[in-house]
Symmetry: C2
């Protein structure tokens, strides 16, 4: 039985108990959310990790993308990125590699990762087909499904599949052209294939085959948004919403068949359209877990897109998004390095945390309450221990040290906290 099937029967598995405990949610409630598809637990039956809950009432989760490209391949570096993102608190990692020995790399990551691992199988299919036959347009449905089966068997916990990029969506796109038509890499492969071959998206047409594989390994589908906007001007247009409608239908079908599914979302979205994008997904997709990329609230953030994504992600999370895909400072510039991964993870964790406080996730406020008390007591070790990157804080404090050890070099002797303590809580002589 898959998770959904057993949850539908009201069975409270050890896994559900564990996630419920971690999240501070009643286990029966969590099971009912899994049964109805508004929450997923991402773990392949072949992957021995802590289960990850994503969905209603749970803490907002953070995913970090890593992986090689043809222009930069180092397995050691990818493993270093994995260690870093785990250290800084990412909840999941996606291997987006397209360069070097893909299987070897992925197997290393799955083996080393203590957290959920996601992939985009069409990347491996594209690399293979381009290598063997010169162009993605020569891919067959079997090419992609064989790779999905292999990855599922290896223990991949969730896969991005752009099933909603249908012929109808492409028609809508052609009728109402965008500035940047398609910026999703997987989406662009499928679009090129579909137009060249004049055939429906194989992931849409053979959706049952996808469900069968997912069922076998209890692998979660992440229904990708091949038509996510690539710039603010393209946001929330007919092509995007056409695809979202289809993804909602596919989510329902998955849940009916006992397969867990999330919906992927934008992308580049003006700040004032972020909330409506989240509400719309929840309405059109049966409340399915929403996994957003950013969103980026400006197109000009190169070098600082992790901040742009933190703004969009915090607003999205507060409005109900369940899972944030981080964006690194190197987005739109180059393949990220280890430092970029750290900055991306922390920015996204901070956004998710701010969102959780806003949406009232139990326990989210605790760290902030504790931090304020450490500040009041001028307890620097306490403050440092609660920060996202204690090494950085320690190092910076040491670099410009205060002359009095209980304050900081910003205010020095003119510390507000000390002045107020003298005034409001004067020591008796």
């Amino acid at each position: 039985m898959t998770r959904i099937e057993s949850a539908k029967q009201g069975i409270i598995t050890d896994e559900i108990k564990k996630v419920a405990e971690t999240e501070g949610m009643d286990a029966e409630k969590l099971a009912s959310h899994i049964a109805s598809g508004i929450t997923v637990i991402t773990r392949n039956i072949n992957h021995h990790i802590e289960p990850l809950g994503v969905g209603r009432g749970l803490k907002t989760k953070v995913n970090a993308n890593i992986g090689t490209s043809k222009d930069h391949v180092s397995i050691d570096e990818e493993l270093e990125k994995l260690a870093a993102l785990v250290k800084y608190g990412a909840d999941a990692v996606m291997d987006l590699s397209t360069g070097g020995p893909l299987r070897e790399l992925r197997r290393s990551l799955i083996g080393e990762s203590p957290i959920s691992v996601g992939t985009v199988p069409i990347y491996e299919a594209a690399v293979k087909v381009v290598e063997e036959r010169g162009s993605i347009v020569r891919m067959t449905a079997d090419d992609i499904f064989e790779i999905i089966e292999v990855q599922a068997q290896e223990g991949v916990d969730f896969i991005t599949v752009h099933c909603g990029l249908t012929m109808r969506a492409i028609e809508r796109l052609k009728e109402d052209r965008r500035v940047l038509d398609v910026v999703s890499r997987g989406g662009s492969f499928l679009l090129e294939w579909m137009i060249y071959n004049d055939k429906e998206n194989p992931l849409y047409e053979n959706y049952d085959r996808l469900l069968d594989i997912s069922k076998k390994y209890d692998m979660t589908l992440s229904l990708g948004d091949g038509l996510r906007p690539g710039c603010l001007e393209d946001a929330t247009d007919r092509a995007q919403i056409e695809e979202l409608l289809t993804l909602g239908e596919l989510h329902k079908k998955a849940v009916d068949e006992g397969v867990q599914a999330m919906i992927e979302g934008p992308g580049h979205v003006p700040l004032n359209q972020v909330e409506i994008n989240i509400k719309l997904e929840k309405e059109l997709c049966n409340g399915a877990p929403f996994y957003v990329l950013g969103p980026l609230v400006t197109d000009i953030g190169m070098g600082y897109d992790h901040i742009s994504a933190a703004i969009g992600g915090a607003i999205a999370g507060a409005a109900g998004a369940d899972f944030l895909c981080y964006v690194t400072p190197s987005e739109h510039i180059r393949l990220p390095d280890v430092d970029d991964v750290i900055e991306g993870v922390v920015a996204s964790k901070l956004a998710a945390h701010a969102a959780d406080i806003a949406k009232g996730v139990p326990s989210a406020f605790e760290k902030d309450k504790q931090m304020a008390r450490f500040r009041k007591k001028l307890d620097w070790n306490g403050q440092i221990s609660l920060s996202f990157n204690p090494d950085r804080v320690q190092e910076w404090r040491a670099a410009t040290p205060p002359s009095e050890s209980d304050v900081c070099s910003m205010c020095a002797d003119l510390c507000a906290i000390k002045a107020v303590e003298r005034a409001l809580n004067p020591k008796k002589d």
Copy 2:
């Protein structure tokens, strides 16, 4: 005549024309906003700089705080910070120095700065009184007003004065204690003085004297929030709103007397309370320009508080805040260095820009539209030129170069933009 006085008479000065042109606003409309106090132009009659407009319908502005403390004093470094913050686009700078030769430093900054300069005069008063008499509690009203007069005469464009921290507000604070009662440095000085001397706030009691000095130099008052919350738990409480009520009254009085005034706002605020804080200020303070510090949407952001502030600032700006005070990555840790200043300015500029797009400020969208077109054309120089920090983008791109010069090392040969171009706009043979 002050700006407000001449605007009330319907006079369209060259200064108003200039600001109106820069902002893309009708000059008569701008003049009427100045007359009613919902917009200010910050420029002291003794400071020869470009005038800065802050208020309704104008671009959201960014201020950068610099300055020494007793523990770290270098005039050269402060001038370097000034050059950096101007280069990266800050609209104003505040000198918050409390260490070293304060007047010499301030005069250098006023002389060098091409943008508006603000100060918090009570800092200089506190340093002087502590030096001469051992404690801030021995300050007299004349001490503070003499310093305000000196600074106004030197050409300071706007000053923070915590006039709303009244005895009544302290009573409310005592009745409903906070975790971190007062974290505003100026606020803490006044609180200590008021409680020790059992006297009303001299800046409140002698508000007319303040208005007289401001009028003489057409210096803008920035009515400070000495009771801004220092942690999320303390946000939007009775003490904060009591002070805001007073600030609204003082703003009205200033405008009636022909003096420009802004209102300062929080601080540490949960994400879901940011918008209400902005709306409340606009309602309670006659639509006065709102100058917010962050807001920080979590208390645990040490080392990344510029990101926390960017999240809060973007939401605040979109909701109507007019002026964002940046926060650097070093906030809560140490006095910021030059690199911190740059990171703080860019994070805040990005937030202000995202807010301007959201609130429909004319021309805000233009850069993003252009960026998307450069992306479509794979025009890298164009993209780099529109970014917040072109040197960084250039350097990073060079550090992990693509093998094909028109793409980037993220996707390499599997560039989505190229695939889509082949599919949707195939070249004819």
